[in-house]
Amino acid sequence: MRTSSNLWWLLLAAIVAGPAQASLRIFACEPEWAALARELMPEATIDVATTARQDPHFVQARPSLIAKVRQADLAVCTGAELEIGWLPALLIKANNSALTPAGQGLFYAADQVEKLDVMAHVDRSMGDVHAGGNPHIHLSPERVLLVADALALRLQQLAPAESAAIASRLADFRQRWLAAMQRWQQQGQPLQGMRLVAYHSSYRYLFDWLKIEQVGDLEPKPGLPPTSGHLASLLAQLKSQPPQAIVHTPYQEAQAAEWLSEQLQVPALMLPYTVDEDKVVDLFALYDQLLTALGPLAANHAAG
């Protein structure tokens, strides 16, 4: 239903397309949104603020980023407070009238979807919890699709001349994504009910989709680094029923995961977290690699 109404909008936008315009310059806060923008508008100039090796919570509002925000027609970011420590500083310093709350130039992916772990009550003693819910939404394939729909619409508003092209690329992306989702779902079937320990809630949405249970967090509280005391209590808690593996992202230190993995005699895995230049070339490759990495754990899971 949502799909068909969106397609109607796209068609309508395509019909009332305005005069030809130079291609857009897009500022993507994270590589996943740069990849999505590239699917919909490959000819756009796309700057990415972070790499797969940088924790998106801890980015410097550095001069090069101000210069990029200054020149952008559109900023595509996660929102939900993920970039709260740096994006507001970039926006206020860049003097770019296109990227104001009133303009069309600010696009927050997390605003397009329903988020998990939205808190009715947030207290800092709980750690660095985002009241608006978990922001790592690109690891939910269903949500990626919703973001793609909304982003396509926004791109059409900003570049009416490209409307038809964007519509057809969205249709193409949807088709390939839905097919891939079926494949990933099948690959993920044996993983259902698997128990994993992770670092932070970075994979919250993936685990939710694949029905994997996160039985432990290497962080004592969100945003706080692992401590020996916390790891000891994790070990005590998990000894009788160890998880299938301990996972972390490329931007999180492996030390804690490796220590616990040795103690529990289960593998520690560094999973891809986002699109990573030539290693993880696009969103399809991201999920392919995630499921390939998790796949071998299914055998242990079945055996256990």
Partner: protein, 398 residues
């Protein structure tokens, strides 16, 4: 973890309910306090005031720069921010309005206008809030030439170039009511600045700044509080401190006696590095600023003015090495060399600090400072400080 698991079902349930529309008003409080052990409390370096807001750390318990800030987009065209600062010294607590400005959001062509009271874009540190510094106090030249930090009532126009290399040019005009200005003119201080910056690969970022502050000084409007002559009674018991104070007086002249133009040139550079640009685990920050201040005009002396031409210099270099997510060590050296008319009172300070950040919102810092003055004073200063933030997470500038 057990806690997180307990919260999980509750969180999922509440996610079904529509999230409340979040108010756009950001409210943040900074609690900053400490305890300092030192032999003497210097009032000035060669006449430049060191006391008051942003000055030298006082002996004993102190609460400096405890601040409360409100900020929000006013509407689609304007952003506004209000910051009040509590400072207490000599047993008195004062509330000071440090920022009360509006900023345009939608001017074309990379232009921006800020109006009201705000921190001047002088060098690198001045426009930043002290609680984001790596050290408990500002480096000596910032204390001597800018009274810790210079903010005033005025207007700023700035422009960001549409280039991949970051270039910002700006001009500011101020009432000139705060030190280093002391003006009765309509526009008592002007400042021109340029910032240039970029990245080197994924791991390194840099910025350089050049600024030129021209301030008008008039003894009738001077607010610099270093030479409060009623001061001697207050510090009667403090023998060592008093001795230093008197000695400074013998050589120094009254900063408020100056009538003329005070020009301050500041060149600044900062370089930050983190492995792969990931600032969570390790990072290194190097920064330095060089100050050149020229006073030309007249100096009051025994009921008359005599011609006065002085050039004073200052600078600092600092390094901060975050070696784990929660621990940072730093070192800094700073100096001020007042012009000849102020006597031979070159001052240097060497600082070492270690800080622990439990979370993104709490810092506890231990700082040791060795202060050396050409007038013969040396002091070992030890400070234990906390900086904690309440409420909204404010984004940090580079």
């Amino acid at each position: 973890m057990r806690f997180a698991l307990a919260v999980l079902p509750l969180a999922v349930a509440s996610s079904l309910a529509q999230a409340n529309p979040v108010s756009n008003l950001n409210i943040s409080g900074i609690l900053n306090g400490g305890y300092t052990v030192r032999d003497s409390e210097p009032e000035s370096i060669g006449g430049y005031p060191l006391s008051g807001h942003g000055g030298a750390l006082p002996e004993g318990f102190w609460l400096d720069h405890t601040e409360l800030a409100l900020s929000a987009n006013v509407d689609d065209l304007f952003y506004g921010k209000l910051t009040t600062v509590l400072e207490s010294h000599d047993g008195e607590t004062e509330v000071e309005l440090e920022e009360a400005f509006i900023q345009t959001l939608s001017l074309p062509g990379g232009l921006g206008v800020r109006a009201g009271r705000f921190l001047a874009e002088v060098g690198y540190l001045n426009s930043k809030h002290a609680h984001t510094d790596y050290f408990a106090d500002r480096p000596l030249p910032a204390q001597a030439f800018l009274g810790g930090h210079y903010f005033d009532d005025g207007v700023r126009l700035n422009w960001v170039a549409p280039t991949d290399l970051y270039l910002e040019l700006g001009a500011e005009a101020f009432a000139g009511t705060h030190f280093p200005a002391a003006s009765g003119e309509r526009v008592g201080a002007t400042n021109l600045f340029a910032n240039l910056g970029g990245d080197i690969g994924d791991s390194q970022s840099w910025q350089t700044s050049l600024s030129w502050l021209q301030a008008d000084a008039d003894p009738d409007h001077c607010t610099a509080d270093a030479h409060d002559h009623g001061h001697e009674e207050e510090h009667e018991g403090d023998y060592e401190g008093e001795e230093g104070h008197d000695e400074a007086h013998e050589h120094g002249v009254d900063i408020c006696g100056f009538k003329g133009d005070r020009d301050l040139l500041v060149a600044a550079a900062v370089w930050k590095w983190a492995p792969g640009g990931n600032f969570k685990y390790q990072s290194l920050t190097l920064q330095g600023e060089f100050y050149r201040q020229e006073e030309s005009g007249e100096m009051a002396h025994d009921d008359h003015f005599h011609p006065w031409q002085q050039t004073s210099y200052g600078g600092y270099l600092s390094a901060a090495w975050q070696f784990s997510p929660q621990w940072t060590v730093g070192a800094r050296g700073s100096y001020v060399e007042p012009g000849d008319g102020y006597g031979d009172d070159k001052a240097t300070a060497y600082d070492a600090m270690i800080q622990y950040n439990h979370s993104h919102f709490s810092t506890v810092r231990l700082q040791y400072t060795r202060e050396e003055r050409d007038i013969g004073l040396t002091d070992d200063v030890l400070t234990l400080q906390y900086v904690m933030s309440l409420g909204d997470h404010s984004a940090h500038q580079f």
